[in-house]
């Protein structure tokens, strides 16, 4: 117990509790703006879920993460694959995708399962060298393809930086990894350039189609990239969401309009279907302004930087991998979500940890952070 209290990372914990509080308020505000009464009480459900998540967090932080990895990670990985297949077969179709299995989203849970699985096999994968790199690719690739099939591009995207960071930490084929990164960057740049060429004003349809056949994106994704490149072009159509998101955030100004007084949200200019999830940062930023946005960034910083610090101070490579993977996953969620809301990245659907109303993700992130806490608590102390 003394060791638990001594090694417990209070900063990370307090930041998380504060974020949960902020999230509850944001969901309350976003939910009240909805016409459907069912959303008005959403904040209570979120709070209840957070209490459950806290129990999971404390339990996982108390148990030695090595035991969890040893016993649970293979099952977790197998379970993730099963669920991802099941959701494609039995899942309920909402907003053009199969992402829901009964009451939860398997794709969110599976991200933690993959990180756990990779962390627990960090050493053997490193020892295999290039083969280990390929194997890692397979371990991550199979569930990733299943997630993409739902489709849930956003969730898949956040997993990529987490996995790459873990591979660096585990030193899996380090020489080639930088090259892989370079290839990813090159492909991303090429896609942007091609979409720019195809969508810039005055391009005849035939040429557009000819250029776009080299772009490995679906039509609606091309549209989002186009909005990213030309945000002002179609503000009543494809660009509407981004435009409204920026109006919400921008009109918040320095100190915001006051909690529960976000106009664009309450007057339903902000797309209602996603204001509680992907666009909740807009609701928050409009009501609390630049001050609130910075405070939120600071709290996320207090969550992920200590996460990396836990990885740094852990002298077990599994713990290091786990902590770095989870921290990078949370960071990727925060960064992509906020960046897309202000037009720094193309819009894609993914939740903002603790602030968005997704309960599966909330519990998943809390469980993951509980395990990082466990890494902090159960590090080998210098005798």
């Amino acid at each position: 117990m003394a060791r638990y209290l001594r090694n417990f990372n209070y900063l990370m914990f307090l930041a998380m509790v504060a974020l949960i509080a902020i999230g509850t308020v944001a969901i309350w505000s976003a939910g009240n703006a909805r016409a459907e009464a069912v959303f008005h009480g959403m904040w209570k459900q979120t709070l209840t879920t957070a209490v459950f998540g806290l129990a999971v967090y404390l339990a996982l932080s108390a148990i030695d993460y090595r035991k969890v990895l040893d016993y649970a990670s293979p099952f977790a990985y197998a379970l993730a694959l099963t669920m991802l297949v099941a959701v494609l077969v039995f899942g309920s179709k909402i907003y053009g995708g199969r992402r829901w299995l009964w009451f939860f989203q398997p794709s969110e849970v599976s991200k933690l399962c993959i990180i756990m699985f990779l962390a627990s096999f960090a050493r053997p994968l490193r020892q295999l060298g290039f083969a280990g790199f390929l194997l890692t690719g397979a371990i991550v690739g199979v569930p990733l393809l299943l997630i993409l099939a739902e489709p849930d591009l956003g969730t898949a995207l956040t997993l990529v930086p987490a996995v790459i960071a873990m591979m660096f930490a585990a030193r899996i084929w380090r020489k080639g990894l930088l090259a892989v990164l370079a290839v990813i960057a090159a492909v991303a740049t090429a896609v942007l350039c091609l979409v720019y060429e195809a969508e810039k004003p005055g391009v005849p349809p035939a040429r557009r189609a000819a250029v776009l056949q080299w772009v490995p994106l679906k039509e609606h994704q091309v549209k989002r990239v186009k909005v990213f490149l030309f945000p002002e072009e179609d503000i009543l159509g494809a660009g509407y969401n981004l435009r409204q998101a920026k109006i919400s955030i921008g009109s918040g100004g320095f100190s915001g309009k006051g909690i529960g007084k976000g106009e664009t949200n309450h007057l339903k200019y902000l797309p209602q279907a996603i204001s509680m999830n992907d666009f909740i940062f807009c609701v928050y930023a409009e009501e609390t302004g630049f001050v609130g946005s910075l405070a939120l960034l600071a709290l996320f910083g207090m969550l992920v930087v200590p996460g990396a610090w836990v990885a740094f101070t852990s002298n077990d490579e599994r713990g290091e991998c786990l902590a770095i993977g989870v921290s990078m996953l949370v960071f990727a969620h925060v960064y992509i979500n906020i960046a897309m809301s202000i037009g720094l990245l193309p819009i894609t659907g993914l939740p903002l940890p603790f602030i968005s109303s997704g309960r599966t993700f909330l519990v998943t992130v809390m469980a993951a952070l509980g395990m990082v806490q466990s890494v902090s608590i159960h590090r080998e102390e210098a005798k």
Binding site: A35, A165, F168, A169, K246, I247, S248, I249, G250, S251, G252, G253, F254, E263, T264, H266, L267, K268, Y269, A285, G289, F290, S293, L294, L297, F300, G301, V304, V305, A308, W309, A311, F312, E320, A323, I324, S327, M328, F331, Y335, I338, A339, I342, L344
Partner: protein, 573 residues
């Protein structure tokens, strides 16, 4: 190592976000706030209460009464689809209708149009509800979420048909925006003068419209409002009209076709201004219906015509004082005697006198008293056309009077040039003879003649003024005082010993006047427009009056007695 790099990535990543958030929330804040306002705020104009019109003693001629409408706020019935919203609204309306006890004055088409075009505005379902309906609604108001009452104003004319042509009427139009303003999203309608003083003094009475902002959601429903600018009430208009005299005049005109103007010649204040037949202004509110308009405009007697300042009549013998003044001004002495034989011959043309066998020798005063045609024909021959024309113009004929009113007919004082322009032939001696007795092509309005009568009495021409408190505009007449005195004495003889003797009997003050009987039309349509112009008291005039009655018998027997009644009403008692 990886951990430290990650830490750096986290910190740099959040710094990048922070810098970009500053760009959006601080630097771009004004732009995005404007975009937010532009999409969620609708500018609405509000009507200002219209000013009232009073007579000189503060009696109400035109005012406003509150009109209450039961309205519905569409935002309270917002449903998932437009069809459901429409159904919810219709359903609620029928619910309230059962309590109010009146069918809604709203068709399904109007409802649909309101939802499509002015969703953010309250929709008036029952306009102008009476007290019973309102109290029944108020009793149950709590049960009817989304319904409310809205105060508007309707014009009232408490005197009905009195001074109808003068006061005029109003219609409704979108609130006018001050110049340079950007467009309103929704414009309320305000009362706007359509004729008469309501029209002439419209900008004075109307006030300045206000402005409010409605906050609308993404679908266009309103969720609150802020008043940007309160409307500024219009100013009250106080008239020189004396309601007592106005009523007196209208009583005399009842059943006739004609007009009468009474004014104070000292300063031009118009005391009464009437045209008959008239109409009841109360029938013009809240709106002038097409049926009523068709009935009035189709009426053979032309009730919509304002004869007082817009009727064009030959002045007949009431023009003779002008001829007299013209001759005197040319140096012809008032003692000039002319033997009236009952007819005046110019070549082929024979101009008859009213007395078949002639008046015998006449001087200026007796000729005015007897309204002797040959005498004035002779006078005109001596004086010449130019003298007559300039005298008539000096007395305000052939030009607008300058009254503060929309209808101000200039009339015609013909001369050679005018006749060539109109008829393509020159001015004959016969025209001059006709003109000397007020026939020819002369056209005057009763307003001009009242002004003329007053000017002879006072020696100066006053611009008629309807609005109280305005400065008098007076112009001295270019006639010598002794010439005016000669004409005045002749006009006094008219009421003491001439054609208006019995009519003016019993007026407490001495009256000077002149009757006139203008023959117009030919054949079966031949008729007399009968005149009487007067001023009183004769020595120091405070009242000038002119009345014309169409299709009368003669000025002395038809019009003068009516004017006598009016003068008795003003001066006796």
């Amino acid at each position: 190592m990886t951990s430290l790099v990650s830490m750096a990535i986290f910190v740099i990543g959040f710094l990048v976000l922070g810098v970009n958030l500053k760009h959006v929330q601080i630097d771009g804040s004004a732009n995005y706030s404007y975009a937010n306002a532009r999409q969620s705020v609708r500018r609405v104009s509000t009507a200002a209460p219209r000013g009232s019109i009073y007579d000189r003693k503060g009696r109400l001629l035109a005012g406003n009464r509150p009109s209450i409408a039961i309205t519905l706020n569409p935002a309270q019935f917002q449903r998932r689809t437009w069809e459901q919203t429409e159904a919810a609204i219709s359903n609620a309306i029928w619910h309230v209708a059962a309590v109010v006890g009146r069918e809604p004055q709203l068709t399904e088409r109007q409802l649909k149009r309101h939802i499509r075009q002015s969703l953010a505005m309250p929709l008036p379902v029952w306009r102008d509800v009476d007290f019973g309906e309102l109290s029944r609604f108020a009793e149950h108001e709590r049960e009817f979420a989304g319904f409310g009452v809205e105060d508007t104003e309707e014009r009232i004319y408490p005197c009905g048909s009195v001074a109808a042509h003068l006061i005029g009427y109003v219609g409704r139009a979108e609130v006018e925006r001050s110049s340079g303003d950007t467009k309103f999203n929704f414009a309320n309608r305000e009362l706007r003068g359509r004729s008469g003083l309501e029209h002439y003094y419209d900008s004075y009475l109307r006030g300045v419209g206000g402005e409010k902002n409605l906050v609308v959601d993404a679908r266009g429903f309103a969720h609150g409002e802020t008043v940007v600018k309160e409307p500024l009430r219009g100013l009250d208009l106080k008239l020189n009209i004396d309601l007592d005299i106005q009523k007196l005049v209208e009583k005399e005109l009842q059943g006739c076709t004609g007009a009468c103007v009474v004014m104070d010649p000292r300063d031009g204040e118009v005391l009464a201004f009437a045209s008959a037949p008239g109409y009841n202004l109360q029938e013009f509110v809240p709106v002038l219906s097409n049926e009523l308009y068709d009935r009035l405009s189709g009426d053979r007697r032309k009730p919509l015509l304002n004869r007082a300042s817009g009727g064009a009549y030959a002045p007949g013998s009431t023009f003779k004082p002008v001829t007299a003044l013209a001759a005197l001004n040319e140096g012809i002495p008032d003692s000039l005697t002319y033997e009236c034989t009952g007819v005046y011959e110019i070549g082929e043309m024979k101009l008859r006198c009213a007395r078949r066998w002639g008046h015998g020798p006449e001087n200026l005063r007796t000729a005015l008293r007897n309204s002797c045609n040959p005498y004035f024909c002779n006078l005109a021959m001596e004086a010449g056309t130019n003298a007559l024309v300039s005298a008539a113009r000096a007395l305000g004929l052939g030009q607008k009077t300058g009254i503060d009113f929309g209808v101000d007919m200039a009339g015609v004082v013909p001369d050679d040039e005018w006749k060539r322009r109109q008829y393509g032939c020159g001015w004959y001696v016969g025209d001059l003879a006709q003109m000397s007795i007020g026939q020819s092509m002369l056209l005057v309005s009763p307003l001009q003649m009242a002004r003329l009568a007053g000017a002879i009495g006072t020696g100066y021409l006053a611009v008629p003024r309807l609005k109280a408190g305005e400065h008098a505009e007076l112009k001295p007449l270019p006639f010598r005082e002794e010439h005016l005195r000669a004409v005045r004495e002749g006009m006094e003889l008219v009421t003491s010993a001439g054609s208006a003797r019995s009519a003016c009997e019993g007026v407490a003050v001495k009256v000077a006047g002149k009757t006139g009987t203008a023959e117009v039309g030919t054949g079966a349509n031949r008729r007399n427009n009968t005149w009487f112009i007067a001023y009183a008291p004769a020595d120091r005039p405070t009242v000038a009056i002119a009345m014309v009655i169409e299709r009368g018998e003669s000025g002395g027997s038809t019009t003068a007695p009516k004017v006598g009644n009016i003068l008795r009403g003003i001066f006796n008692g």
